[in-house]
Each structure stands twice: as C-alpha cells, then as structure tokens.
Assembly symmetry: C2
Homo-oligomer: 319 residues x 2
C-alpha cells in the first residue's frame, strides 16, 4: 500500500504534475491557440521566445491546459493557422499577435464568431469590438515620453529626422503623440520615412537621410532594431559623435549603452516583448481560475535613463 | 536510496510544494502586503473573499511568495496596516484597495517612496503617478453602458432618479459618463443623491425620493447593494411593478433576476470584485516570473442582459 502510494507520486512528479498544480486542476481541459509572427526583427524574436517559454511554464503549472503554438511569416500562413486551430485543434481561446492587423482582422473575427475567447497582443485590429482582452504597450505614451525627452535635450530646438515603423495603427499612435508634444517648439522634423522596425531598413533610410541633409542634430527611430541600423549608418558616415538617436523597446544591447552613459544613445523607452507572457497568463487564469479579465491592459512605456537602466537590464533576455 | 527519494517526495508534497511550483521557485523569497477594507457592503465582501482565496492559491503555487493580508474598517487602521507592513513585515510589494483613496494617498505614497512596488485596485488616488500597476473596472464605461441601455429602453424619454455612490473619483467618472451620454435626449433626471454603495442608504434615499416625486419612471443606482435597498423601498411603496431600476457590479442575486427576465431589473452592468485576484496574480508574476506589468488594466464593464446573464452567473460566488 505504501509502495503504491509513493510510486503514484513518483509517476505524478515525473509527468510534471505537482501538488500545487493538481490541487487546482479541474476536470475540464482547455486548449489555447497561440499565433505569433515568425521573427522578422529582434522584438518579434523576443515575442517568439517569451511565447515558447511561457506556454512551457503554464502547461507545467496547469496540467489541464494545453497550448498549440504556431509561427507565421505572413498573413496567409497566419490565417491558415487560425483556421486549423478552430476546425481541427478545437481551441477554447486564441492569443495572437497579428503580424499585419489589417490583413488579419477578418480571420480573427471568424475565430471570435465561432465562440472562442480572443486575446490580441500589441497590434490593434482595423475593426473595434473583436477582442475579449487586449494587451499592449502604451503606444501614444511611447511617442509622448520620447518627445518629452527631446524637448528637454533640445531646449532651443534643433533639426531631427523621424524613422517610422510599419504603416499600422500603433505606428500612427506613436508618431501622432510625438508630433503633438513637440508642437510649438523649435524642434523641426526635416524628414520622416518608414523603416518598418527593421535593422536593414533603418540602415538604408538613415544613409539616404544623411545624403540629403547635412544639418541633422538627432534621430527618433522609435525601435531599437531600427536604431541598430541607424547607428551603423552614423558610424560609417563619421557622424556617431555628432548626432544622437533614440529608439524604443528596451533591447538589451541598447539598455546597456544607456546604462554606460552613451552620448549617442542617451535614453531608451520600454516596450517589452514579454507582454505576450502576461497575455498568456491572463488568458489561462480566465479558464483555470475564473478571473474576469476581458478588458484592456496597457503596459507603461517608461523612459529608460542612465539612472534607472539597471532595472530594465533583464538577464538572459533573448532581445 | 530509493526509499530516501520517495520519502523526500512525500515530504515535499505534504508541505504543499509540488514539482511545478518547485521547478520555477527561485532562491529569493518575496512578501506581498494586501490591504483591503473590512466588508462594508456586498462588493467589498467579495473583495475580501477573493483576496483571501487568491492569496491562499498563490502561496501554494509559488512557495517562495508570502502574503500579509490586513482588513481595515477605516483609513486610520488602513494607514497603520501599511506602516506595519513596511517597517516590521518588510514587504516587497503592496496590493491595496484604498477604502477612502483621498485619505490614503499620503500613506500609499510613503510605501512607494520606501521603494516598494505598489498595485492599486479599483479606486484612484488623489495624486497621479504613484502606483506601478492600477487594476480597475471601466468606470466611465459603466456609466456610458448603462446610459446606452436607458436610451434604448426610453426612446421617447422619461423621468429618472440617480442614486450615486461615495463622493470619490470613480463615482464621478460613472455619473459624468452617464450624464454625458443622455445629453440631448428627453430623459430627465429629477433628483440625484449619494447612497454610498450601501443597502440601507439605498433604501432610505429611495423612500425619500418616492415621497418627493410621484412621476418616477426608472432608477439608476449604479450598484447592486444599493439596488437591493431600492427594490425594498419600491416594494413597500407598491411601485415594484411600475418603476424599473438598474444597479451595477453583477451581484449574483441580481444577475439571477436579470437571467429570469425580470421587468423590474431588466439589466445589470459587470464590475466584478474578483479584479483583486487579477491584481494579486499580476503582482506575483512580476516577482516570480519577471513579467513587466507596470501599467493600467481596465476590465470591461459589460451590459448583462437576459441573453448573456448565464455567463455572469458565477457558481459559489460570495457576492
């Protein structure tokens, strides 16, 4: 009898099912579909990493929850993944970061119309009212916080160039808030081009701008991947000591530059890809613990300076 | 050797420490202080219940996290609880529903200034910028959603009375949004009085209004506890068949009335006290799992109708 009991415990533990998990596990099992873009820059690489890490953690913690994770390089594949999750995997909920939210809106609405819980991460759909839960960074805040720094760093004004992201709503929210906040100052935007939150595009667009303008004081490129490309272009043009630049997201190598007191990259603004872990946690809690979590969770976009950079310098981060 | 291993496992399981929990437990331990008002109405009773239930669940799930829970009947006691949590219990974080947010702002700011993480639930402080995380229902949404129902139910207008909550910001957010939404309609507010989200006050204020006005068509009292008092006053005055009333929060007995097709209580609006469980979950995840959760989580205030009431009818709820 004693042997039987201990053997059963060993089996339980070997299966990754512990007392804590088992104690709250219910009879019903749940399947959560997770759909993310294939990494096209460092930030989406962070998204994929945290999605994998958190689904691993949660499926150990809550043995009655299973996750189906799919990565998609484009909207055609992402739409097909959703179709598969509903028709053959029978998901109860979808947690999705739509690569192109406009193109994905109809597919996501179908999942919602099929009676599934829908959690959207980061990128707003082109039609309101679809998600049960929306988790994102503060995009207007990212623009406003950055603009406040530019105003402080350029009290008498100056000439800047703006490298935008992808032409989707969160880029517009960031840029509108930035432009609104510098209104009435002597900060002049010489030029503004899309660089798609991409390292190579950041490099090319910055090279082009350096050719066109010889009076650039500073760069706002809204994203740390783009910033890596911008810094390369500045270095090659011998401008890395005269032009400073601000990205965004809190990429570890950029946070470390800020932490070290870089003059070229004086600050950063947080927009951490681990937001997908929080989206997965909240969605899971809804099913296993009955939390009412339909709503909007907007995570702060905070200014990262030399003084506080240490708290944004995450060890073992992939991003 | 084998015996030793299984014995150790039995001990581990007996202590409520399972594989799942142990696998992610870190060396560092954390103490989270939880400060809530002593139940003064059904909704705060729900808050106390969920705070207790969730701290029990989380301390089993994450053995390296301890919770110190204190209930306070007034601001003097709640301020003393905070002082104790910082100076003698050495908390890493505070999760608080401030009974009177104006009176508690200075005490909460002290906790923040001492370098502790601060999560505020439900009620906004009188000074901005203090909390790391704010978790609340959608208060303007509660007013706007209710007003949309009144407009639909009274297409030609009518006479209503408004019973307000406590004179704190979330009451003003609800009432401002309601008044804004009925602007330009023929819905006339005959009178508006504070009933403090309280059953007895709801009863007394409604009795008073029934004495003053004989032409009331409907009541908006914003809270299901107040509504219970209002319904009692209507019944005693023989008006329970001629005046309808809408509260708010999703109290189970009210949801059941809506579900059964009541003409007197046709709808309700959700504002579930289990938001404190979500606040505790997010705060805990910040420490045990590194989630960046500083921000604002606003949970939807949804219209509860006969058609969807079933999904708001939580079994075993204390509220």
């Amino acid at each position: 009898m004693r042997l039987m009991r201990t053997t059963a415990l060993v089996a339980l533990v070997a299966a990754g099912i512990g007392f804590a998990g088992a104690a709250i596990a219910q009879d019903k099992t749940y399947t959560i579909g997770v759909s993310v873009p294939t990494a096209d820059h460092g930030w989406t690489g962070g998204i994929d990493y945290f999605a994998q890490q958190e689904t691993d953690r949660l499926s150990k913690l809550y043995p009655n929850v299973k996750f189906v994770v799919a990565q998609a390089p484009d909207s055609t594949k992402q739409a097909a993944d959703l179709e598969d999750m509903v028709t053959t995997r029978n998901i109860d909920a979808l947690v999705i970061l739509p690569g192109d939210p406009d193109a994905m809106t109809a597919s996501i609405k179908k999942v919602k119309d099929a009676g599934k819980w829908v959690t959207i991460v980061d990128r707003q759909l082109s039609q309101p009212g679809i998600p049960d839960l929306y988790v994102a960074g503060d995009n207007p805040g990212l623009g406003a916080t950055t603009a406040a720094y530019f105003k402080q760093a350029m009290p008498n004004g100056g000439n800047i160039v703006v490298l935008r992201g992808l032409p989707i709503p969160i880029d517009k929210q960031r840029v509108d808030a930035f432009m609104d906040a510098i209104k009435g100052t002597n900060i002049k935007v010489l030029d503004s081009q899309f660089a798609n939150w991409n390292r190579d595009d950041g490099y090319k667009v910055m090279q082009d701008m350096l050719t066109k303008y010889n009076n650039i004081d500073a760069v706002w490129c809204q994203d740390d991947d783009t910033l890596v490309g911008v810094l390369k272009a500045l270095k090659e043009a011998g401008k890395d000591n005269s032009i400073w630049a601000v990205g965004g997201a809190g990429m570890n190598q950029i946070v470390k530059m800020v932490e070290s007191g870089s003059k070229e990259v004086p600050v950063d603004v947080s927009y951490n890809p681990n937001m997908i872990a929080t989206a997965l946690d909240l969605t899971t809690l809804h099913f296993v613990n009955g939390n009412q979590v339909d709503g909007n969770f907007i995570i702060n976009s905070s200014l990262i300076t030399k003084d506080n950079a240490q708290q944004f310098d995450y060890p073992n981060t992939p991003f």
